[in-house]
């Protein structure tokens, strides 16, 4: 990879990310897929970095899933989003930070629409007022949560207990960074590094000691894509996308994958199990899969948080190989214990993919 050229391109796509005072909105699906990621994000910002980040109890879905599945019209989605902005305005915040990539893409799309078609904005204002009595201001800054961790990456690195380094070899861990499609493919200027060379995750990996893996299908979709997954018979398209990525990255022997989207870590994680069951093929070392993480989980690991507090036990592809390589301390006996010490139950052992 010729870094000099990429740095020049990345320089053209730098966005302003606020330093503090965020109004934070969660994702609909991440709380089910990787439930500790958002908690970890809040823990890092509040407890480690001392930032002001506010959540509102009345926040709802942005309706992005319905919009991208063609069941909700854009006008309805705009009014739902306007209500979220009203909650932010009422709470006295101007910096809107969202957990979900699709929400981020949707907010970017709506803000751009309002910028170019102010009459649409006025109509949404009237509709929201009529429906809820609320008024709103357009956010001064829109940031995805990964933008914020990217901005704080050096502060996190300065507090790091572990690095993305293989303790057995002393070499940087080889990390595949996978960016959600809705982060910057629709609006390149809204993402750090643009659409083709987004730097948001690569910057984290480099700051925390890892090495980014470049491979042919690096910008390929994970395969989620809403419509091709929602219908069971169409899921062959979804898993085929994921398989294409893994076939492309496997020769480069990555140690782990880091993602910034709700769907990507889920599908890259789960589909490895499905591919192993269907075709008996695994892509990691020694019959294991390639561990997949959210950026909050990786930040938590770097900061020395307990892997089971990070929710790594809900990953289907075993994460222990990377914990061992990083030298992260963990107790295998506590893997499936809840916070109250009760046994959560043990998942069935798959036929092909290896687990601990």
């Amino acid at each position: 990879m010729k870094l000099a050229g990429k740095k020049r391109i990345w320089a053209d796509y730098q966005k302003e990310i606020p330093q503090d005072n965020y109004f934070y909105v969660r994702s609909c699906i991440r709380q089910n897929f990787f439930p500790a990621s958002e908690v970890t994000f809040l823990r890092i910002l509040r407890q480690e970095l001392g930032k002001d980040i506010y959540e509102h109890i009345h926040h709802t879905t942005c309706s992005g899933i319905g919009y991208h599945s063609d069941v909700i019209p854009l006008e309805t989605t705009m009014t739902v989003v306007a209500r979220q902005f009203a909650l932010m305005t009422e709470a006295g915040y101007e910096n809107y930070a969202c957990s979900c990539i699709t929400s981020f893409g949707l907010y970017s799309e709506i803000l751009e629409t309002w910028k170019h078609f102010p009459e649409v904005l006025e109509k949404v204002r009237r509709d929201l007022k009529a429906a809820t009595g609320r008024e709103f201001e357009v956010p001064k800054h829109l940031a995805h949560a990964s933008d914020i961790i990217y901005k704080m990456r050096h502060e996190i690195a300065s507090r790091a207990r572990y690095k993305l380094v293989n303790r057995y070899t002393g070499q940087p861990l080889r990390v595949v960074e996978h960016i959600g499609c809705h982060y910057s493919k629709m609006f390149p200027s809204k993402g750090v590094g643009g659409a083709e060379y987004p730097y948001v995750l690569a910057g984290m990996v480099e700051a925390w000691g890892g090495e980014v893996v470049d491979y042919p299908e690096r910008r390929h979709c994970c395969g989620f894509g809403f419509r091709q997954y929602l219908v069971q018979a169409n899921r062959g398209y979804s898993v085929a996308n994921t398989q294409k990525k893994f076939e492309s990255m496997a020769p480069f022997k990555p140690d782990m994958i880091i993602t910034n989207c709700p769907g990507c870590p889920y599908f890259l994680d789960r589909w490895q199990y499905v591919i192993a069951e269907m075709e008996g093929k695994t892509y990691g070392e020694n019959g294991f899969g390639i561990p997949v993480f959210t950026y909050e989980e990786v930040a938590g690991l770097v900061l020395g948080y307990d892997p089971w507090d990070l929710g790594l036990q809900v990953h289907q592809t075993a994460v222990e190989p990377i914990l061992d390589k990083m030298g992260v301390a963990y107790n295998p006996e506590k893997k499936y214990l809840g916070k109250d010490g009760q046994n959560l139950g043990h998942p069935e052992t798959p036929a092909y993919s290896k687990v601990y």
């Binding site: 069971q232 898993v239 294409k244 591919i275 269907m278």
Partner: protein
């Protein structure tokens, strides 16, 4: 498969020219060098006598050979009557009749 998922993995339509089997193409280029001049215009197929009654499509066959997709080629090529009208209209002067005969020989040799 231990688990029934209700779907299967769709096979990719991507053709990787680095790994595609090119033995048939190499054989044709060796035994009928004019095959290299084909631009895939389809004049051969448009005038094909056999194509009136069957699905024989010489333009498609040359494309499949170049892509290494040679499975199921024998029943297709056997539809040719060797009338030679395709050779008469070919703007690139490809000896299409010898191409057809060479494909038949290659299929026997490579099978």
């Amino acid at each position: 498969m231990a688990v029934q998922f209700g779907y299967s993995i769709n096979k990719s339509n991507t053709i990787d020219m680095d790994t595609a089997p090119r033995a048939m193409e190499s054989y044709l280029l060796l035994h009928e060098p004019s095959f290299a001049r084909c631009i895939g215009c389809g004049c051969c197929t448009a005038t094909c006598s056999s194509g009136v009654f069957t699905q024989l499509n010489l333009r498609q066959i040359q494309l499949r050979i170049r892509r290494g997709e040679t499975q199921g080629l024998l029943p297709e090529i056997q539809k040719c009557m060797l009338c030679g009208k395709c050779q008469m209209v070919c703007p690139r002067g490809v000896s299409t009749r010898n191409v057809v005969l060479s494909i038949q020989r290659a299929l026997q040799l490579l099978s």
